[in-house]
Symmetry: C2
Subunit: 404 residues, 2 copies
């Protein structure tokens, strides 16, 4: 079967067809069930071409077509093309300092099943994390049946990750250096595994279907024990030379401040990470997101140390965000993880400090917002990472799967 887009010629028709299949599948993955008539308009292709492309994707089990309702104008009803959410899945994994989430996510970005673990108060060793991920992942794989397929796994880690092999180079808050997490998980799960930085995956998911959708310049701040930024600049992810960009948590902001896990002193995350909040609120370390929510709740009920702790962290969140905005001039800054709780509970303090510390021309242009995907931005970003090869070349990926 040969599908030609307008203007395609000779040897390039195969490339054009692959590109069109990718564009169509990505569109329904992002936007959900879509009438064929809309796909015709969005892709700029004629009806028979769209029909051919959807037929191919349906035959491969990636989308399904159903008769839609008649248009209100009384015209012919258009077929609706939907992603095969139950049939085509990935494993998404989010590794934190005090929590771990593993989920099955279907094409279209729906979480089908999930397992959340937490280990308050201590930092896990690489071996324990890899084992937990493999065990939880295997348990989720055992759930699927019938004709469903899990095509890959994506993992979010709070650290610097080497792109090509998923090696975690440095994760100060986990105390990891050079952990071959991607390699080990691929062995254990017998799946392709891609590993990424948690904040990079947070902005990725929010850019696809969240608070940064349609925005060219945006920052996702991921705050837990540590603090990292995922950055889109000019519509593209900003990775830097090796993909390690965004380590804003280790910016020096207070030379008379506290020692940091990274070996330096006065890093931003020592002033507005979770552990600073717990310490000032008189609570034990390692409370994770649940602990942050407890401090916020206590502050709202008049607990003075909790209130002071919240204001300290909110003050430094505003100041440090001004630093980030002064450098990157984004349109949106999304505050994820524990930072969302701080923004919601003490947004006025965050904004006053932000506007006071930043340059007027820059701070006036920015919205400071919560993630639209809630606490799942990084998890869903890991799913996007895992889906990416399939979305980029649907039939090649499926043929690889069936050949292996």
């Amino acid at each position: 079967m040969t599908v030609l887009a307008r203007g395609a010629r000779g040897a390039r028709s195969e490339d054009v067809r692959r590109g069109n299949l990718s564009t169509l599948l990505r569109y329904v993955h992002v936007h959900g069930p879509t009438p064929r008539s809309q796909l015709t308009a969005v892709l700029g292709l004629n009806r028979s071409t769209i029909g051919g492309l959807t037929g191919e994707l349906a035959a491969a089990g990636l989308v399904r077509e159903e008769a839609g309702r008649a248009a209100s104008g009384g015209g012919r009803p258009s077929h609706v093309v939907s992603p095969e959410t139950q049939r085509v899945q990935v494993l998404a994994m989010d590794v934190g300092v005090t929590h771990l989430t593993v989920a099955r996510v279907g094409l279209g970005g729906t979480v089908l099943s999930r397992r959340d673990s937490s280990w308050p108060g201590h930092t896990p060793r690489p071996r324990a994390v890899a084992t937990a991920l493999a065990t939880e992942g295997a348990a989720l794989l055992a759930e699927i049946g019938g004709d469903a397929v899990v095509v890959a796994a994506g993992v979010a880690v709070p650290g610097m990750v080497r792109r090509h092999d998923g090696q975690v180079r440095q994760a100060p808050n986990l105390g990891w250096r050079d952990v071959p997490l991607g390699h080990e998980l691929a062995e254990a799960l017998q799946l392709p595994v891609a590993v990424g930085n948690d904040a990079d995956l947070g902005i990725r998911a929010e850019h696809v279907r969240g608070a940064a959708a349609g925005v060219e310049d945006a920052v996702y701040l991921s705050g837990h024990s540590g603090l990292g930024a995922g950055i889109f600049a000019g519509g593209s992810p900003l990775g830097g030379r090796a993909g390690y960009a965004g380590e804003v948590g280790h910016s020096l902001v207070n030379p008379d401040g506290l020692p940091c896990h990274c070996g330096s002193t006065g890093c931003w995350e020592t002033e507005c990470g979770e552990e600073r909040l717990f310490e000032l609120a008189g609570r034990p370390p390692g409370g994770g997101l649940a602990g942050v929510r407890e401090v916020v709740a206590a502050a709202s009920k008049g607990d003075a140390p909790a209130h002071a702790a919240l204001l300290h962290v909110a003050t430094w969140l505003g100041r440090g965000t001004a630093n980030v905005v002064n450098v990157l001039n984004p349109e949106v800054v999304i505050m994820g993880g524990a930072l969302e709780a701080v923004l919601v509970a003490a947004g006025d303090t965050v904004r006053v400090e932000f506007e006071s510390a930043g340059l007027a021309a820059l701070v006036q242009q920015v919205r400071l917002v919560s993630p639209h995907l809630g606490a799942d931005s990084t998890l869903l970003g890991a799913a996007e990472l895992a889906f990416d090869p399939l979305l980029s070349d649907p039939l090649l990926e499926l043929s690889r799967r069936s050949a292996s």
Copy 2:
């Protein structure tokens, strides 16, 4: 005359021709005199097409062709294509807090004539600067004769500039807000005038023909009274939403530090700008680059306050550069303006502090270097800005000039 590139068809041949003319002119602008045979290889076009394109550019007075020497292999000598440096010019202007340079720059990036002014110790008002630029510019325009033409002017300013009209939104170290510099100069000089941020233009010039040539992720730090960064990320300039990105000088690094011109406290430039150096060295403010060089010379001769001042600024240059590198993961950081003198005189201190404050995986990947264009990076970047419309569409720009 119609020149077709390989594969071009119908209505697009005009676009292809314009694109090829632009690519060819830009190549000789950047690389200087180039044999036709090399252009054939670089552009991937055949000899007759290259001949047609160079003929058009030569007829328009933008390049000239001369018989080259015979190749060493004894083959036919290839014509050499050179930019018409004396014939096609722009005005380039670099506005600092204590200096002002206006130059005529020829196609190919050669400074043909320049006028340097300085006003130690006081900050100029917008009106005085605009008048000085117009006066100096007019004097340079009066120098040209014969068939030479000045096609545009480009201006570098240490502040945030609105792209479309050259409005200087905020320049804390000049004390400017909302100065319509581009508009006023265009009126006075009767030329198209483009205004840009000094650091953005510094990285632009260094990326075209300097220390960042061929580098995808690079930062140019422009240090005088203030401190700004010009950023390339993934091979493209990083401007942010409105082009105001790179205001690293106003990142909070020391909350117990000094008040800043921007209204905040403890900004990076309060610790490593020129004024801090002068103050710690016991010298009067406003000494500019000449004053910085005096302090460095005094330090090398054993002047204790000068030496302590130099080490203080070098220490903070290293620390703040680590902040920038942690966020952007560049391959090269170019230290321009006064920072070059600090890097040359106290590079060990800069590097030790840099490596101590930054994350290992990031600082290991970076080279901290002097600008290859010396003190002229921003001036030459302003020239690049002025040349850009001509280089992007050579014949359209010339037809616009001759119609006006």
